[in-house]
């Protein structure tokens, strides 16, 4: 009895102390959870430091930002299942539509920030081994008999969906809009794929570390990062004639910020993405800034000019592209059931 009471008192003391500590730090500090996709680790680390400075100047308060990264499909699932995300920054509009469908984000989020809530973009390019031994210049070289292609699985990887759509857009343009030809072309490319990794980083490792394949279809930022890390003596980038404009999307998770009174902070965090300093941070991390004129021209040299098509123009937007191509029984599944 006495032992029990002592434990009770002790735990009460500890509990009060802990809640005091927690509320004490909450008074001094704001906090924000940003749930993002896989390759943006370096980007959001730098941006969080920048935003913390801006927030301090503006409000005099410090803010602790935690960024979470992973394959976007899995990230969407964890937000829907209750991870306390205040803002989300995802590679596909379809990802955020998935959260909207779960009722956490109100419809119309696309018009909340400039450029349909897309503060930076990227595209899809090729990474080949030094000297380009297979002479790969454009998408049609990928279906040559002696070429092995590395790309992740569009079922699990957001980046892989962009790869797929970029190839489709190329053939559609070349054939003058023939959907059947585009489909056959994409199917042919996947016949040259010996391994479908589950994420973009996995494919980069297969190509770079395990030396499998002749060409990696990759995010431009991943390709530039690989060349920067390993040097031009090992890899080079090949820019195809046509690729896709990968519009990255950001949104406030309405239900969560309203529950915690964080809307103002969340809004400021995403709005600041459009400032000249932030645009400079994107360019430094190999993402294409929305406002190139605000960025040091030297940093823009990494991004070659190429014809970029939009999902909205060619595929009728993500609301249509996702079910048509990638959901169960979609074109991607059919490609693998034809043979």
């Amino acid at each position: 009895m006495t032992v029990n009471r002592r434990i009770l008192v002790l735990s009460a003391v500890v509990g009060v102390a802990m809640s005091l500590g927690a509320s004490g730090s909450a008074l001094a500090q704001d906090s924000l959870n940003n749930v993002s996709y896989d390759p943006t680790r370096e980007l959001y680390r730098e941006y969080s430091d920048h935003f913390a400075k801006v927030w301090k100047e503006k409000t005099g308060r410090t803010v602790a930002i935690s960024n979470s990264h992973g394959g976007s499909g899995a990230q969407v699932r964890s937000v829907n299942e209750g991870v306390p995300a205040d803002v989300v920054t995802f590679p596909l509009e379809g990802d955020i539509l998935g959260i909207q469908a779960a009722g956490l984000i109100e419809p119309g989020w696309q018009s909340e920030f400039p450029a349909q809530s897309s503060p930076y973009t990227s595209t899809i390019v090729f990474l080949v081994r030094a000297g380009n031994p297979k002479g790969i210049k454009d998408w049609d070289d990928l279906i040559r008999q002696d070429v092995q292609v590395i790309t992740p699985n569009p079922k699990t990887s957001g980046g892989a969906r962009w790869n797929y759509l970029a190839a489709w857009a190329y053939e559609l343009e070349r054939s003058g809009g023939d959907e059947q030809k585009a489909r056959d072309f994409v199917a042919e490319i996947y016949k040259h794929v010996p391994v479908l990794d589950t994420g973009a980083r996995g494919s980069t490792n297969t190509f770079v570390q395990n030396k499998v394949g002749d060409v990696l279809i990759a995010w431009e930022n991943e390709a530039l990062l690989s060349v920067k890390e390993f040097g031009a003596a090992e890899y080079e980038i090949v820019v195809p004639s046509v690729s896709i404009l990968a519009e990255v999307k950001v949104a406030i998770v309405d239900k969560n910020v309203d529950a915690n009174g964080k809307r103002e902070l969340a809004h400021a965090f995403l709005e600041e993405l459009y400032s000249p300093e932030s645009q400079q941070i994107f360019a430094r991390n190999f993402y294409r800034p929305l406002y190139p004129d605000q960025v040091d021209p030297e940093a823009l040299k990494a991004f070659p000019e190429l014809k970029l098509v939009k999902v909205g123009d060619v595929f009728g937007g993500w609301e249509k592209a996702q079910p048509t191509h990638f959901d169960e029984g979609g074109v991607f599944d059919q490609i693998y059931s034809n043979d």
Partner: protein, 279 residues
């Protein structure tokens, strides 16, 4: 007439407490998740469930997952028996070290194992390089999957057979020899029957672990539909599509098939107990 009693009276106290805790624990940790899994599956109507069950891609993955797991577990029975024999019966330099190495596949995070095995077995890797001149590719083929499953399943057979072998009475072998049995006869008719229950347990464990393995296999499997796609990956796909019912359906089918196979192993085990006596 004998009355059916819930339990035999025992002189050991604490039955109610320990039994109650056991049931509660099993209920919370094992039964609830599994019942939840089957209940989620029942959200599907029959046609959709049938469509999953008869899909050619699902069936290919089913064959691959169970086939590779069975072959890996069988291989581990042979090699595990050999290793256990060597460790128990011989005294050699660094025996303790070899003994400790057996547990490494337990300790290594599966993703690390998968990445390491892949790096070794790709055509440019240390081991893959030896095979590629003969046109044998290991990584990204079913062979690679099998190697990963052999790796993670190794400790199970060794660790279940080893203690039984250690307790095995050498006098029985001597008796067999004095009665004129050849060495082979002794092994087949005296030693193996005694080890059979342990071998079967080791096999079941290695097999069950292999069927559910995701982390290490996913790196070395090519994940190409119909060729090198394992069942757990199909479950992940359905989860990515937020189709939880279909994901649980595949999991429930896997669980049922595994359960049937393990039940069969148990039946063999009890048959062997009757046949050879409980050694």
């Amino acid at each position: 007439m004998t009355r059916i009693r819930f339990r035999e009276p025992s002189i050991i106290p604490g039955f109610r407490l320990t039994f109650g805790f056991t049931i509660l624990y099993l209920f919370l940790i094992v039964i609830v998740p599994i019942v939840g899994l089957y209940m989620k599956t029942f959200e599907l109507d029959w046609p959709s469930f049938w469509r999953i069950l008869t899909g050619s891609r699902f069936q290919a993955a089913l064959k691959l997952s169970f086939g590779a797991s069975l072959l890996a577990a069988l291989f581990n029975v042979v090699i595990g028996l050999l290793i256990a024999w060597v460790i128990v019966r011989y005294r050699f330099f660094a025996r303790r070290l070899v003994d400790a190495i057996i547990d490494l596949p337990f300790a290594l995070p599966t993703a690390v194992a998968g990445i390491a095995l892949t790096a070794l077995y790709v055509p440019q890797g240390w081991i893959g390089r030896l095979f590629s001149p003969y046109g044998i590719t290991i990584a990204y083929t079913p062979l690679g999957i099998w190697i990963a499953l052999v790796f993670i399943g190794l400790p199970f057979v060794v660790r279940t057979v080893q203690p039984v072998l250690e307790d095995f009475n050498a006098e029985v072998e001597e008796a067999a020899a004095t009665l004129g049995a050849s060495r082979l006869t002794t092994i087949v008719r005296v030693i193996l029957p005694a080890l059979l229950p342990a071998i079967l347990t080791g096999f079941s464990l290695a097999f069950a672990r292999a069927v559910g393995e995701y982390g290490s296999v996913i790196f070395i499997a090519g994940n190409i539909p119909r060729q090198t796609e394992i069942l757990p990956l199909l479950i992940v796909f359905r989860l990515e599509e937020r189709d939880y019912a279909a994901a649980s359906a595949i999991a429930a089918i896997m669980l049922t098939v595994s359960f049937l196979i393990l039940l069969l192993v148990n039946l063999i085990q009890s048959w062997s107990n009757r046949r050879f006596g409980n050694v």
